[in-house]
């Protein structure tokens, strides 16, 4: 469980990127943090894993309050996959890269080798272990990053716009992995501006200009026309038409139900 209480953050003397943000994420749930560029969503992810330090407020992960002393304990619980596959490839080869996180957590050599094999297979990269990053596509690099996080076996995994630089097939692959992880009982946080991705999660937190605009079950947020308009997010045509019927004064419950079902489908 993650509890964020009254968190504020600003870079140097600039206005606050996050302003008094509070929410709770339950164990085993999948929560999307939605917002446009500059809404503060990536900053929030970095705060939760202790890459940035909040000005005010507290973050608690599974009962441990995040401080300089506990940051390593917290990182054993929270893994993060970033947006740009090139910026997070630290190993010389695929094998090295998957091992990196486990080495930091001081796993035995034997255990590391075992897990590289297991998780490379899970993400379909077992034939690429000796390859170097420049020989891989963006989607393949992102799979390697995911294998590294899976191998660390953290309870919570944050995907920070992990699909936004991938082509449609790469995106579907990553979303497939996320679904599997959720089924295994992991807590998932996806940070995104893609509604198609957010629709798959249990809850949505909408951020706007550093504040929580709305936090509710996904279905409730999708019904809320005002929030959707205010958040500058792009809706699927089915949801747009769903809301348009109401504006146009057309009463057709059957079509509304149908569009609603379409909107919730992947």
């Amino acid at each position: 469980m993650i509890t964020v209480e009254n968190i504020s953050f600003g870079y140097h003397n600039q206005p606050h990127v996050l302003d008094d943000v509070s929410f709770t994420i339950e164990k085993g749930s999948w929560v999307s943090i939605l917002g446009h560029n500059g809404s503060g969503k990536s900053t929030l992810a970095k705060l939760i894993v202790g890459l940035l330090k909040a000005k005010n407020g507290t973050i608690t992960v599974d009962g441990i309050e995040l401080t300089e002393k506990t940051v390593h304990q917290v990182r054993e619980k929270v893994g993060i996959v970033f947006q740009n596959p090139d910026n997070q490839f630290v190993g010389v080869t695929v094998e090295d890269d998957i091992a990196f996180g486990m080495e930091n957590l001081c796993f035995t050599r034997e255990e590391i080798v075992k897990r590289i094999d297991k998780y490379a297979k899970q993400v379909g990269m077992q034939d690429y272990l000796a390859k170097e990053p420049h020989q891989l596509s963006g989607g393949q690099k992102q799979r390697v990053a995911i294998a590294g996080i899976l191998a660390m076996d953290t309870d919570i995994i944050i995907f920070d716009e992990a699909t936004s630089m991938l082509d449609p097939h790469g995106r579907d692959d990553v979303l497939g992995f996320i679904k599997t992880l959720k089924e295994k009982g992991k807590t998932i946080i996806t940070i995104t501006h893609d509604m198609k991705e957010a629709i798959l999660s249990d809850e949505i937190i909408v951020l706007k200009e550093g504040k929580v605009l709305k936090h509710d079950h996904t279905k409730v947020v999708l019904q809320d026309k005002e929030t959707l308009n205010e958040s500058n997010l792009e809706l699927l045509p089915s949801l747009k038409l769903y809301h348009k019927l109401e504006t146009a004064g057309i009463v057709n419950e059957e079509l509304r139900d149908y569009l609603w079902q379409l909107s919730l489908q992947k």
Binding site: S137, G138, H169, H193, E234, P237, S238, K244, I250, L262
Partner: protein, 287 residues
């Protein structure tokens, strides 16, 4: 024709001696003005290799590329003597993630870098930078700022301004909207549209976003395993071709239009371009 490809093929060679055919017998013509082309296809289908042939950054293994009347030599000895710089000024290429290529202290210097490489004098380059920054929808106050303190969308605009300052006839952009949010993406698309309409420049955009293709492209090129498998209008592509055969997704609006067609057993063809058009076409049926 500004750019003419005749049966162009390109082979990559790995150090271990194996080869890979990135382009296979591609023939196409591109006009110097007035075209808005979307270039689509799966990752690895040859899109980036194709556009790098358009300003002679790459040279064909066989076949011929002609750019503004200049035949690109594949023969190494002859090609050394060829003056390709003027062609690269005429066909401006914006690479993927151009924001990572910004390097100067100020936005002004960064934009001036391109034109000065083409021997434009400093004063003139500065004038062009001032014009280009406005063309991409930013004001002159940005010129004194460091490019590294800008948002992702602003950085992309600055790097596009750097190419515009070279005053190319044809602008080629490799996945220009990747990584941007919907608002930033739409703003950039509007920018391309206005450059296309105001200056009558030909624009070629590589993209994976079928919604963009549907919204703006008049002509579409589809690459598949190094071959050009479709070259035609976007209306023809979406109304008559089988996208799934090329592993391409349908635009969201067309997907839903088809679902409504089935549900109400009606025909909504040709497909509507936007939500308002769709609504007009179905409002009598759904009332």
């Amino acid at each position: 024709m500004a750019i003419k490809f005749t049966e162009v093929s390109y082979q990559y060679r790995s150090p271990d001696g194996s080869t890979f055919n990135a382009l296979k017998n591609v023939s196409l013509d591109i006009k110097a003005t007035g075209e808005f082309i979307a270039l689509i296809g799966e990752t690895g289908s040859g899109k980036s290799t194709l556009v790098q042939h358009m300003n002679a950054l790459m040279k064909p293994s066989s076949g011929q590329v002609e750019i503004y009347g200049v035949k690109i030599e594949t023969d190494k000895k002859k090609s050394k003597k060829q003056k390709l710089t003027p062609l690269r000024q005429k066909v401006g290429l914006v690479f993927q993630f151009p924001e990572y290529q910004l390097f100067e202290e100020t936005v002004l210097k960064d934009i001036m870098f391109g034109p000065m490489n083409f021997n434009i004098k400093k004063d003139e380059a500065e004038e062009r930078a001032k014009r280009a920054i406005k063309q991409v929808g930013l004001d002159e106050s940005y010129l004194d700022r460091s490019p590294f303190n800008l948002s992702g969308g602003e950085k992309k605009r600055v790097s596009i301004a750097g190419i515009l300052a070279m005053d190319p006839d044809i602008l080629v952009l490799d996945e220009p909207t990747s990584g941007l949010d919907p608002k930033g993406r739409d703003a950039l698309i509007d920018l391309f549209k206005s450059i296309h309409e105001t200056y009558n420049k030909t624009i070629i955009v590589i993209t994976h976003d079928m919604n963009i293709v549907h919204k703006i492209a008049s002509r579409v090129l589809v690459m598949r395993d190094g071959e050009l498998v479709f070259d035609g209008s976007s209306e023809d592509l979406f109304n008559n071709q089988s996208l799934s055969e090329w592993n391409l997704e349908e635009p969201d609006l067309i997907k839903m239009t088809k679902q409504l067609e089935q549900r109400y057993e009606i025909s909504i063809r040709p497909f509507p371009k936007n939500m308002d058009e769709l609504f007009d076409r179905i409002k009598d049926v759904i009332r």
